[in-house]
């Protein structure tokens, strides 16, 4: 069956979520993945948006994390001080989704600047809540398409902490969360090595070779001795994504 990279990534991300998980989610593919999980194996997933909407069940695809559809019919609306202190810093968030302009060898994410901070060639939006999500969510999932510019050996600016910062391992910073344990790309899945914290190739999508993945990463990517092969989206997953969750292809672009 034919499917796009976005559809594959959304399906793989959905399968990473367990029923009952409390998920800190943004818009786009992560939002699609959460709603796909809710519609399949995780009906009791609780979605929390940094805007303060808890347990949202939007009647339309939200176009921003502050969409009014996330409020109407939600379980709770709280102030952002509560979102960050009582939910996130409190340790109530099991999974946090993050993306980024750059993701490096150690899972550090850059959403701040390309180039020098004081005189950037590209000024990116900045952290938003990503810095604290990467520190506090029990597990962080990164969703990003492969490419040497997106996956450099080292990011230009560390906005969200990965597993090693300027040579110091994450453990030294005593962060509550495990950090980015899984990176869902358009060709396969990278995982942080339990010991070193370095991102390594753990699973391939159907018909993808290791060299194809390596071509999209800016450092000598190591691979697990046995690579999992990930099943393609099921007919049910594709039907939900295409007909129910994003019929207008707002986020399922390619």
């Amino acid at each position: 069956m034919v499917f796009s990279a976005d559809e594959m990534m959304a399906s793989v991300a959905a399968r990473e979520l367990a029923d009952g998980d409390v998920v800190f989610v943004g818009i786009g593919l992560p939002n699609l993945a959460c709603n796909l999980a809710r519609a399949t194996h995780a009906p009791n997933l609780v979605l929390i948006y940094e805007s303060g909407a808890v347990g949202a069940t939007p009647s339309r695809l939200p176009v921003s994390i502050g969409d009014p559809a996330l409020v109407t019919g939600s379980l709770m609306v709280c102030g952002m001080a509560d979102v960050f202190q009582c939910f996130l810093q409190n340790g109530r968030i099991e999974v946090g989704f993050l993306g980024g302009a750059q993701v490096d060898r150690w899972g550090n994410i850059n959403t701040t600047v390309i180039g020098d901070y004081a005189h950037p060639t590209v000024r990116l939006p900045g952290s938003g809540g990503a810095t604290e999500i990467a520190a506090h969510a029990r597990r962080t999932l990164i969703v990003a398409k492969l490419g040497p510019r997106t996956f450099p050996e080292q990011v230009d600016f560390v906005t969200s902490p990965g597993h090693r910062y300027r040579g110091t391992p994450r453990s030294a910073f005593r962060m509550p969360g495990q950090g980015p344990v899984t990176v869902i790309t358009d060709k396969g899945v990278l995982e942080a090595d339990a010991k070193s914290g370095e991102l390594v190739l753990a699973a391939l999508y159907p018909g993808v070779s290791v060299s194809e993945v390596r071509a999209g990463v800016g450092w000598p990517l190591m691979a697990r001795t046995t690579l999992r092969e990930i099943a393609p989206p099921t007919a049910r997953e594709l039907q939900l994504l295409r007909d129910v969750l994003d019929p207008d292809r707002l986020y399922l672009k390619g």
Binding site: S51, D67, G79, R123, V158
Partner: protein
């Protein structure tokens, strides 16, 4: 100071009286209830050297930056939500000679700065920023040692704006203000501020406020002025009044990319109109397109 003394005035007079050149100005509201009407009046009155602070500068600060109102920006996420970039912001911050000074935090850091300001404490403590470059980019992010555990925690300094502008669904003439839907960090920003301007969709009798006191987010005792400006948050939204104008946000990409088009936009829709009613007159069909549906919740019993 009270619920019987009226603080109602026009947007023109509110900005003229409470927003001055060089002020630190906060127009808060996370996606919801962003007071574009106040930002436009600040542009019309040609305020200069402002330090603009809010979590998400959004289109309104992109417009104020383009109009030359801002000297400095204090923020945590500067994008066009769900669309892409704020190009006036980017032009002012990229390359060899940025013209806009930046002071940058994460969302939590900005929330913490307002929380400290509201509590009139000099700082707020967080478990954040370890293993990131943010403290190097912003020396105002410091550390404190816990007097109980000895562990090191991050701190941010209090933010106490000169003036905070809050858009709300309703308030009485004394500024007792009720908001529902997303409440963001408005309460903290208002209590942190020296002056507070409340802009409402609806001016209501104090009896309406008193009928449901748990809905009051901002008490009149901290409010300087009340402006009645229906649709004043467009193109952002007001839960229960009108939807977010996503088409406008999407369309801003093209406008803000081109400095000439951005200037043209400001000339036509901001400088070219007298006030909000003039702005609305230039958006025919807006009200019909965005007016909210009715999903009214049940009341609760305050009897005893």
């Amino acid at each position: 100071m009270t619920d019987s003394a009226s603080k109602v005035l026009s947007m023109h007079d509110a900005i003229a009286r409470y927003v001055h050149d060089g002020d630190t100005v906060v127009i808060e509201g996370f996606t919801h209830l962003i007071c574009f009407a106040a930002g436009h009046e600040i542009i019309r009155q040609r305020r200069r050297d402002l330090t603009l602070a809010r979590l998400t500068p959004d289109l309104i600060y992109d417009q104020m930056i383009a109009a030359g109102c801002a000297r400095k920006l204090i923020f945590s996420w500067a994008g066009n939500p769900g669309v892409g970039s704020l190009h006036a912001f980017r032009r002012a911050t990229e390359g060899a000679a940025p013209s806009l000074e930046l002071e940058e935090y994460s969302h939590f850091g900005m929330v913490a700065r307002f929380s400290a300001g509201a509590a009139r404490l000099p700082f707020w403590t967080m478990r954040d920023y370890a293993g990131t470059d943010l403290p190097r980019a912003n020396p105002a992010i410091k550390n404190v040692v816990c007097p109980y555990t000895g562990e090191q925690l991050a701190t941010v300094p209090a933010l106490n704006p000169d003036v905070t502008i809050i858009h709300a669904q309703r308030a009485d003439a004394a500024g007792n203000t009720q908001i529902w839907g997303l409440v963001g960090v408005q309460k903290e920003a208002a209590f942190a501020s020296q002056r507070v301007i409340v802009v409402v969709e609806e001016l209501v009798d104090t009896a309406v406020i008193r009928a449901d006191p748990n809905r009051t987010l901002i008490p009149g005792v901290i409010v300087s002025g009340v402006v009645v400006e229906p649709w004043g948050a467009h193109p952002s939204y007001a839960q229960g009044f009108y939807d977010r104008d996503n088409e406008f946000y999407v369309g801003w990409e093209k406008i803000s990319r081109d400095p000439a088009r951005l200037t043209g936009y400001l000339d036509e829709f901001v400088l070219g109109v007298e006030d909000r009613s003039g702005y609305l007159a230039r958006h025919p069909g807006l009200v019909e397109r965005l007016r909210a549906s009715q999903q009214v919740c049940a009341g609760v019993n305050y009897g005893f």
